[in-house]
């Protein structure tokens, strides 16, 4: 962590829960034996706000949250390659509204599943190594970004199956890319972070014609003139270790530094404002505004999840010492940040890989290393 000069101190969130809301476990499923790495609600289509998908092993499963803590399984997909281990999944959608699931993992092949017709839609071969995260552009849900171990971020059009842009090269990441996110309103802007300890902000503005062309491309997807974006607009080296999660919060960025094993088990999410210098791309400064401590967590590759309106966020954490998996629920947009609740359960003994918050934040799902899915619902009191 870079030294913070006087007068630029961030507001640090207190770890005393405000108990504004409380959650309790309403369901627990055992999906299988293999760890579940991702769980995500569908915020793309309002019909499916209560539908979520998980990936674990070579399996992609679609569930529905019903009233009373009930979870129904709707669909299940299984990759014939048993060695596949999916790390990430994201909801996307076709131009005609067909719900799509985009999943990727250790094989580096991105699977686009047509959930409306229960069949494989497309498979994207191109990444040279495993895919660590996939995100969907909310304004154009046919566009997805993938972050890969091959040190690149790629932009795909799931509708036409085209790899439009590759964010790599001279200014690119120098190690695995762990996380990536679209800016919520500036459609040209993305951010990525990875094992090279940097956060990079990229602009696709100059390449946007290619994005548009990808929608009308009639020839083979492989013949599309895929472009390399080699230079980010900002490289922020605010962390001294892996940055394993990044999310835009409006124009600000939430990123998680992982310092476990190096410095301490006390990690934190930081919220910072990137300040670009338009004249000299690549340079720029960051202003760290807030900190959301993630105490006593010694695993990494943990992602945060927000509700639809980015009011609350849930972070799963795990301490291998006392073998306790907990969930911290933060109020994101208050200053200073306040912890709403600290969720734990006697049986929650496995690392929580990812959480998912429902549309209004009333339900939190967490998926664990041991293949379980937990459902937490708000307690309707006070």
């Amino acid at each position: 962590m870079t030294k913070i000069t006087l007068g630029c101190e961030p507001a640090v969130g207190s770890l005393a829960p405000s108990k504004k809301r409380d959650y309790r476990v309403t369901n627990r499923l055992q999906e299988g034996k293999r760890p579940i790495y991702a769980v995500v609600f569908n915020f793309i289509d309002s019909r499916y706000y209560n539908v979520f998908a998980t990936v674990g092993g070579n399996r992609v499963t679609v569930y529905q949250c019903l009233e009373g803590g009930v979870i129904a399984v709707l669909q299940s997909y299984i990759d014939e390659d048993k060695d596949e281990s999916f790390y990430t999944v994201s909801w996307a959608c076709d131009a005609d509204g067909t719900p799509l699931l985009v999943a990727g993992g250790i094989n580096g092949i991105i699977r686009v599943i047509d959930a409306g017709n229960e069949k494989i839609h497309k498979s994207f071969v191109g990444h040279g190594d495993s895919v660590n995260e996939i995100r969907t552009q909310a304004l154009r849900p046919s566009l997805v970004l993938s972050a890969s171990k091959d040190e690149s971020v790629r932009l795909w059009n799931v509708q036409t199956g085209i790899c439009i842009l590759i964010f790599a090269g001279a200014g690119g990441h120098r190690n695995e890319v762990l996380s990536v996110d679209f800016h919520p309103s500036d459609i040209y802007r993305i951010a990525s972070c990875g094992m090279d300890n940097t956060v990079k902000i990229w602009s696709m503005k100059e390449f946007w014609t290619y994005v548009e062309r990808s929608f009308t491309w009639e020839e083979l997807p492989s013949q599309f003139p895929t472009k390399y974006v080699q230079f980010p607009v900002l490289i922020a080296s605010i962390h001294t270790n892996y940055v394993d999660c990044i999310r835009w919060l409006g124009d600000f960025i939430l990123s998680k530094v992982n310092d476990c094993l190096i410095q301490s088990v006390d990690n934190e999410f930081i919220l910072w404002e990137p300040k670009m210098k338009e004249q000299s791309p690549g340079e720029g400064t960051v202003d760290i505004l807030q900190k959301y401590p993630v105490p006593e967590c010694d695993i990494w590759f943990i992602k945060l999840s927000c509700d639809f309106h980015y009011n609350t966020a849930a972070i799963g954490l795990y301490n291998s010492g006392n073998r306790e998996g907990k969930i911290f629920v933060w109020e994101l947009q208050t200053s200073p940040p306040s912890l709403i609740a600290r969720l734990s359960h006697v049986q929650s003994k496995s690392p929580i890989r990812q959480t998912a918050m429902s549309f209004d934040g009333s339900t939190i799902l967490s998926c664990c290393e041991d293949g379980t899915i937990w459902r937490w619902d708000t307690v309707a009191t006070s």
Binding site: K3, T5, L6, G7, A11, L29, E31, G32, F43, I44, S46, R47, Y48, Y49, V51, R59, Q64, L66, A72, V73, L74, Q75, S76, I78, E80, D81, C93, D96, G97, T98, P99, G108, R111, I113, A115, G116, E118, I120, S123, G126, G128, D129, L139, D150, S152, A168, A170, S185, M195, G250, D251, L261, L289, Q290, I299, W300, S320, Q333, T334, S335
Partner: protein
């Protein structure tokens, strides 16, 4: 903070603890303030800063929240719209996800209704149950029949790489040296292995931190309150973790800035474009010198980098000479055209006026243009020689007179003489001017007016500033009359006679005009009471005229902007005295060819008049007149001779000079890698201190040293197509032939037919320039038959054919050692030893040949070749290779460093990505 001054020490020391805000400027006695008090002041300021910061963050968060809520609102709307997409579009197709959703809800209701019914399959029409699971009794994977995703073969792993068609030097930010790198063990799950971190001892230099506003605030307020005593500064420094001296300096800066801001509110100087023109050419060229690579002839060269040392060749190369263009004007403002017009103008004006018109038209008209020119030139030449003869006395005279008060008059003269100064050079300028201005009235008038404006300050009586044109004409016609009168005087005969004697080529008309000119000038001079006029010596006068004209031109030239002047000088250097080329290539939009021409002449004159030795007599007319032609021809010839001579000498000397060190390199190449070449800047023959000699390389064409340098590599003189064996010195030295250096090696530039390179009559083409010319084979990337990726050849090639270049990042050996460790961990290395300084790394940047696999029995070999001063790696066919074959070459890892898969020649699985970790760094060798 204007708090009252409280000087007494005791009171300051004793009791201000309660209200630090009111504590005051102490000044020199500040040393006595108790540290606690200083802390209090600082603390209170800090508190304020912190509070401000909180408010700021809150404000920013709130702004962001509002913005974000709009954004999510849009997202929400979009997601609502998507609900209807299907319905309006194709409602006959059933969305299975929606159907399952409904089923689930029905089921739940059903379950709730029947309460206790097991979650076994209720008969759905497609057989897939939408199971509802309560609790964790059943594993989900058994509850629904999964849909199979057909297997897709995954790619062999690779890191995203950028294609390079030529090597690039590593940029600083790509370095891994001094960076801590943490590895994580994939097998060990979460375990992180941090390595190299201790060993590296990251020496993070205390980088200069910028002062932020809040710091400034605290510094200013504290020092204002407590003074800048050492104690205050020390404590402040502690708090801000900065050096006290730094703080003091900053405070001064702040105070100064404050004063400056108050002082100069309105004086915002706008950026002035014209200031650009006042820049010196050197300054303007600075960025060019920094960014332009003189070896690759590109800007921002990725191979040799920016800000290279500038090497100036000891031998200036010849200036540009193009004689065939001589007679074609380069544009409407070409000196040549202007002059032509003058010529005709003169004759036509002469015809009605002077008695000599018959003679003039008879011998003048036909050859007018050229004659006039040569006329003028010869005149000038004569004048000049005259000048030099008459020695500097005249010049001094003139210069004296120029100092005198007559100057405005001359300036005045110049205003109407100068529309095209070239004219004034020719002695027939009077008549010329008249016709000229009538004929090409517009452009000359414009020019006149321009000049008029420029010189308006010199309020000469002869030039009314207003309606210059007409009045000018009046004046001129007057003077013309005077001319005629004068011409009837005795002045007439003598000069013509003398001149006739002197120059056979001289045309009478020239004489006439000259005659006319002299009295005219005399008249002028009389009006200005010049003593010179009284002199009998016509030559002197004439010269004076000439000089004064020249001076006017000089003045004119002085009006040029700095950048124009330096561009002009540069132009002289590049193109020689060719105003057309200078104007077109360098002064476009600034000066016309004619203007350049005059400037050229006048600078020439100046030189000759000042130097007085007439050495510059290479035709002052300066565009290539007959005289100069011969001059350049002579020069060229001598150069040619010199070259021949050198070539001959070279023939016997290459063994002794260049070759010796080369052979050494070849013979012990095994142990000694090639040496990186850096051009030396020697201005004479390279001696002991020559950087090339020191580093053990040959001098190359990029060196500053003259071509005769003993250390130069001389190239070869092989006959046709012979540069393919060790007989060729280039080939033997591991170099490609260079058309600039080798005698017979060259390339055609095509004979006009597209695509096919032109061939000399005998089909000759040097075979040792393939890297330079990029004459490479098509290489395909595919799944290797051995393992991972492989490189394949598209077309069949014979033995020893050049296949392509192994490109990559040029990194230092130190960097390579670091990267090698990382790559070894991943067990795939793309390092290639290039020379003593550099290693090629194709990991992130390279070309497809980086995927060619290792084999102990390869079909290719790699070779480091010197191409135009740079070492490059070529991959060549070791044998005949058929189309579609996979390419292998022996990586030739240093024995102790070779990874297991490259160690045993017998091992069948000869693949780099295959085996376990190796010890040390493995680098390919050529």
């Amino acid at each position: 903070m204007s708090s009252p001054k409280v000087p007494p020490l005791s009171s300051t020391a004793a009791g201000r603890s309660d209200s630090p805000d009111v504590s005051t400027i102490v000044g020199p006695q500040g040393a006595a303030i108790a540290p606690s008090e200083i802390s209090l002041v600082i603390d209170s300021l800090k508190k304020k800063v912190d509070a401000d910061r909180c408010v700021y963050i809150m404000k920013r968060m709130e702004e962001n929240r509002i913005k974000l809520s709009e954004v999510t609102h849009t997202h929400h709307k979009l997601s609502l719209e998507r609900r209807h997409l299907r319905i309006s579009g194709a409602d006959q197709t059933v969305d299975l996800l929606t159907k399952r959703q409904k089923d689930a809800i029905d089921k739940q209701n059903g379950v709730n209704a029947s309460n206790g019914d097991s979650d076994s399959t209720s008969s759905q029409e497609d057989g897939h149950a939408s199971a509802i699971l309560l609790g964790s009794s059943i594993a989900v994977k058994n509850a629904v029949r999964p849909i199979k995703l057909p297997e897709v073969k995954k790619l062999p792993p690779y890191t995203t790489w950028i294609f390079l068609d030529r090597n690039q030097r590593m940029t600083e930010d790509q370095s891994v040296v001094g960076r801590r790198r943490i590895y994580y063990d994939q097998n060990g799950g979460e375990a992180l292995i941090c390595s190299d971190s201790e060993e590296e001892a990251i020496d993070e230099e205390e980088e200069k931190k910028e002062f932020v506003d809040s710091e400034d605030y605290i510094i200013r307020m504290t020092i204002q309150q407590l003074g800048s005593s050492d104690a205050v500064l020390d404590l402040l420094g502690q708090r801000l973790s900065r050096k006290p001296s730094e703080l003091k300096a900053r405070y001064e800066v702040l105070v100064n800035r404050e004063n400056a801001v108050e002082g100069s509110k309105p004086g915002n100087v706008e950026f002035d474009m014209s200031s650009l023109f006042d820049k010196d050419l050197e300054a303007a060229l600075d960025s060019f010198d920094n960014l332009f690579c003189r070896r690759c002839l590109v800007f921002d060269c990725k191979l040799h980098g920016c800000s290279q040392d500038l090497i100036f060749p000891a031998e200036k190369h010849s200036t540009w000479n193009r004689m065939d263009e001589e007679k074609l004007p380069c544009g409407p403002h070409c000196y040549y055209r202007v002059q032509k017009v003058e010529g005709t103008a003169v004759t036509s004006s002469m015809q009605p006026n002077s008695e000599q018109k018959a003679a003039l038209s008879s011998d003048g008209n036909g050859v007018q243009a050229s004659r006039k020119k040569s006329n003028g030139r010869s005149l000038l030449r004569r004048l000049k020689s005259c000048q030099s003869e008459n020695a500097s006395s005249n010049a001094r005279n003139i210069s004296e007179s120029s100092e005198s008060e007559t100057r405005p008059v001359h300036d005045g003269n110049s205003t109407y003489r100068l529309p095209s100064p070239r004219k004034s050079k020719l002695v027939e300028k009077r008549g010329t001017r008249q016709r000229n201005s009538k004929r090409i009235a517009d452009h000359v008038m414009v020019a006149i007016k321009k000049r008029q404006k420029k010189l308006a300050a010199s309020d000469s009586d002869s030039v009314p500033s207003g309606s210059l044109g007409s009045k000018d004409m009046g004046v001129r016609s007057n003077s013309h009359k005077e001319n005629e009168e004068a011409s009837s005087s005795s002045l007439k005969a003598k000069p013509s006679a003398r001149r006739g004697r002197r120059k056979d080529s001289l045309v009478p008309s020239g004489d006439r005009s000259l005659q006319a000119e002299v009295p005219d000038c005399a008249l002028k001079e009389i009006t200005s009471d010049q003593p010179v006029i009284s002199s009998d010596d016509k030559w002197k006068k004439e010269e004076f005229v000439d000089e004064s004209i020249c001076r006017q031109e000089l003045i004119e030239f002085k009006c040029w902007r700095t950048i124009e002047k330096s561009l002009f000088e540069k132009g002289l250097e590049i193109f020689g005295r060719n105003s057309c080329l200078i104007a077109r290539n360098l002064m476009n939009g600034m000066k016309t060819c004619a203007e350049v021409f005059y400037a050229m002449n006048c600078s020439e004159n100046k030189l000759s008049s000042q130097g007085g030795d007439g050495t510059n007599s290479l035709g002052d007319g300066s565009r290539i007149d007959s005289n100069e032609n011969t001059g350049t021809a002579l020069r060229r010839r001598s150069r040619f001779l010199r070259r021949r001579g050198k070539v001959r000498r070279l023939k016997y000397s290459w063994k002794s000079a260049g070759y010796h060190s080369m052979r050494k390199r070849i013979s012990d190449k095994k142990e000694l890698p090639c040496r990186q070449y850096n051009p030396c800047g020697c201005q004479s023959a390279c001696g002991k201190e020559c950087s090339c000699l020191v580093s053990g390389t040959c001098c190359e064409k990029y060196c500053g040293c003259p071509k005769t340098c003993k250390n130069r590599f001389r190239g070869c003189h092989c006959a046709k197509s012979q540069c393919r064996s060790r007989q060729c010195p280039c080939f033997a030295a591991g170099r490609e032939c260079d058309p600039d250096v080798c005698r017979n090696c060259w390339i055609g530039c095509g004979d006009g037919t597209l695509g096919i390179p032109g061939q000399r009559g005998d089909n000759y083409e040097c075979r040792n320039m393939k890297l330079l010319l990029k004459q490479q084979q098509r290489v395909l990337l595919g799944r290797s038959d051995v393992s991972g990726w492989g490189a394949f050849l598209k077309n069949s090639v014979p033995k020893h054919e050049y296949l392509g270049e192994y490109t990559g990042e040029l990194i230092s050996h130190r960097e390579a050692d670091k990267r090698g460790k990382i790559y070894d961990r991943e067990n795939s290395s793309f390092l290639f030893n290039l020379n003593d300084q550099y290693v090629l790394d194709a990991y992130r940047k390279g070309d497809k040949l980086k995927f060619a696999n290792h084999s102990p029995v390869p079909n290719c070999y790699a070779k480091v070749i010197m191409v135009a001063g740079d070492h490059r790696v070529g991959i060549f066919a070791k044998e005949r290779i058929c189309a579609g074959e996979e390419l292998f070459y022996d990586y030739r890892y240093e024995p102790d460093r070779a990874p297991a898969w490259a160690k045993k020649p017998e091992s069948s699985g000869s693949k780099k990505e295959e085996m376990g970790p190796s010890s040390g760094r493995a680098k390919k060798l050529a």
